[in-house]
Symmetry: none
């Protein structure tokens, strides 16, 4: 249905960002990243959103004109709309 958003656990997101799960939780608490709560209270994050954040969701993207045969970026149709970056202002 949707973009096939897989849900990631705080530990997964933390490992992707190389930060502590606690930090990911703070991002969610601050509204910098969308979070879905389970009836039990645990959080789940959308894989597409996390991926967008990892890639530099919207702007700051340094692109080096690399060799010719290089794979661009994930041109996946995933993600209906780029999300607002958590680091909009830092």
């Amino acid at each position: 249905m949707d973009t096939g958003d897989r849900l990631l656990t705080p530990g997964e997101v933390a490992a992707l960002f190389r930060v502590d799960p606690k930090t990911v939780t703070r991002w969610a608490a601050a509204g910098r990243i969308g979070s879905i709560r389970t009836p039990g209270g645990h959080r789940r994050f959308r894989e597409s959103e996390v991926r967008a954040l990892l890639e530099g969701d919207g702007v700051i993207e340094e692109m080096r004109e690399d060799d010719a045969a290089n794979k661009p970026r994930n041109a996946g149709p995933t993600n209906p709309g780029a999300y607002g970056p958590p680091n909009g202002l830092r």
Copy 2:
């Protein structure tokens, strides 16, 4: 309004929440989610109810903290900022 009550199996609900089928069963046992039992004892969940839980049915609060000098954040497909304590059951 016809909520289109399609019944989902524990495995289906578990996949939606990215949890174990066992966890979904636990939610039903704790009364956190409505469940219909088959004569054999297996549980079935209403698709409409599960979907509501995924979006944070009851607590749809829009957090507006974006200022004018910020990046325009598009409206996400799902994830208005589902905030809300689990259930007060702690």
